[in-house]
Subunit: 421 residues, 2 copies
Amino acid sequence: MTSPSVDTTVVRIARSARKAALTLQSSPVGSINNALAIMANLLVSEKAAIHAANRKDLAAAATKNLSSAMVDRLTISDKTIASMVRGLLEVAALSSPVGQEYERRVRPNGLEIYKLRVPIGVVGIIYESRPNVTVDAAAICLKSGNAVILRGGSEALHSNLALVKLFRSALIKAGLPADAIGAIPTTDRAAIERLLKLSDYIDLIIPRGGENLIRMVTETSVIPVIKHYKGVCHVYVSAKADMGKAIPIAVNAKVQRPGVCNAMETLLLDIALPLKSRMKIVNALLENGVMLIGDPETRKLSPAVRRATVEDWKAEYLGLRLAVRTVKGVAGAIDHINEFGSHHTDTIVTESAPEAERFLREVDSSSVMVNASTRFSDGGEYGLGCEIGISTDKLHARGPMGVDDLTTYKWIVKGNGQVRQ
Amino acid sequence: MTSPSVDTTVVRIARSARKAALTLQSSPVGSINNALAIMANLLVSEKAAIHAANRKDLAAAATKNLSSAMVDRLTISDKTIASMVRGLLEVAALSSPVGQEYERRVRPNGLEIYKLRVPIGVVGIIYESRPNVTVDAAAICLKSGNAVILRGGSEALHSNLALVKLFRSALIKAGLPADAIGAIPTTDRAAIERLLKLSDYIDLIIPRGGENLIRMVTETSVIPVIKHYKGVCHVYVSAKADMGKAIPIAVNAKVQRPGVCNAMETLLLDIALPLKSRMKIVNALLENGVMLIGDPETRKLSPAVRRATVEDWKAEYLGLRLAVRTVKGVAGAIDHINEFGSHHTDTIVTESAPEAERFLREVDSSSVMVNASTRFSDGGEYGLGCEIGISTDKLHARGPMGVDDLTTYKWIVKGNGQVRQ
């Protein structure tokens, strides 16, 4: 149950955001770009205020025994600020799809009908820890003409509120409504629950964080949610693979940045791949410090491979640990991925075009690759210019989501007095 | 709480549909079209079985005091069968977007990246009464390569199961998996609740029916839902309107078929419209048997106009009853519609291009029209060839939804051994 004051605050923020969204949808993209540039300047000129707010969060963190990795993510250094500034200017330089007219048709009765690309309206972002998400996410939402409501992690509350305060003043300086960016000024979890019921004011919820947060949001929300629960990404090495590609791809997919959602979590080896090739790939991973957990076939390749259970096929380790399974050809790989994967990103390594085509067609994931590392599954790498999140849902947007994915359309119908018979 | 047997049945149907969907996504569109044509033939050759099943439902209805309108909707006449046959053949003749490749780009590292249009997977349709929806909805889902799970109204259970049985045999005859069409064979409401939690097997839920059903589905589902709660459609008549268009449009939007979601529910009259014009439009509606409920300004136009409350601005009457309000120009109309409307379909009648442009831009609805009746908001009228439903949500699809809207995309990435730096 929500306390009356939290309730009032959340409803007020959501209602103001809806009002701001209606103004924003008619605002020129020039004003929006201007607000982003002003915010970039404010981040530099007002950095003392940001550091002061961040120190409050860091002091609170020190009393809570957070891991050094979490403290690191929480810290706003001058380098963090420089990266936020760069992000803002990159987003400002992107083109906006808003206003595009498409799928035009003239009906036999003379009606002219087309779709007009428009902002979604109000986007709620619920995320954990990293304060730079506050600036990045708000910038992408604004760029596509949306108002945004931010609810960051409780550890970063002071930092987030300081950043939002600056961004709101940038909006005012650019002649736009400050309420186009709202932040929930409380760590009270009831505020999230309340927010997720306000479908009259909020059009889309994007949760970013651990699986528990995302499940809670999905189960509570009556507003559409775009999300990915986790990234259980696969690399399948076919007997027809070029091992000169397979080994670097497998090592890169696991080792280059193991803590992220597009890192490989399960390696699938074709039973028809020569024993020597399978040993080479397993040893390359072991040499890179990866702990391997495998099926009986894989355990024959090295005594270092531990025994896997069915839980390992579903696991997102997010570290230097990897499940390895031997499968019967591309059909076996596809069955394994469609049964145990998370529909995120999966790669086949093969020199056979028919095998690659089958894998691309039958693997039911948001990104399916041939002869490339799963680590490429990313808005920047796909050329979207930025990324608001990754979707493993099938509705609206799938895979990395950029500015265009935060827009929708309305049907425009122009007549001359037509009535229906 | 679900009983074990209902639970087992629903999970079995959903799991079989998922499996069928994986087969279907690789099946040629020729086989799908063939299944639709076979089903059209079976509807005619097996019509005795359909009528027999329908008689069971009608007999049960007779004991329940259903309204004659509901009995009418429930009845499968030879005319109903002919209309289903026509629908099947029309859907078979549509082109399929599945397999289209678009947004292709080659990145500086040589990766070739594009989007491939694919079926969504498994679609659940939850609907009330009309058995013809069973055939129409299944046909549209199949055409776009999706498996479908149908849960129709309990009054139509026997009719629906008979139609699904035929459709499954048509699938087998076309060499496709019968489980691509599943029906929940029970009227137990717990079955719906169970279905709405099966996000591992079902990708999209489309509820069609009354507002209560749709709210229940939205609140219970952890699967994405596309829906419209209701259609509170507006016609705004500007002082710059041609009354020779305004009167026929207002009468058509209300009277031509008052029980449907794209019929007008509120008429907005510009205060600057001459009194005589306003009286003309009000009298035309009264002469067509429409009961009017209005604000004080409107009540001056005729003693027949009853007093409106704020509830009337939100009401979906679905009958020959209409709310009428006087507003200050296009700005007043836009404010009213964005506050009280249901984001379905709204029309301005005006000869002023700038006024029309402002209305089209600022009204936040799925269809926005100039000088045309709201009754045109329909998949067939928009040239989609068919309609699986209307969305007032902003995600994925907005307004009338056709075959294309039951597809999504996956990202295809083709490399030559690239790894991420």
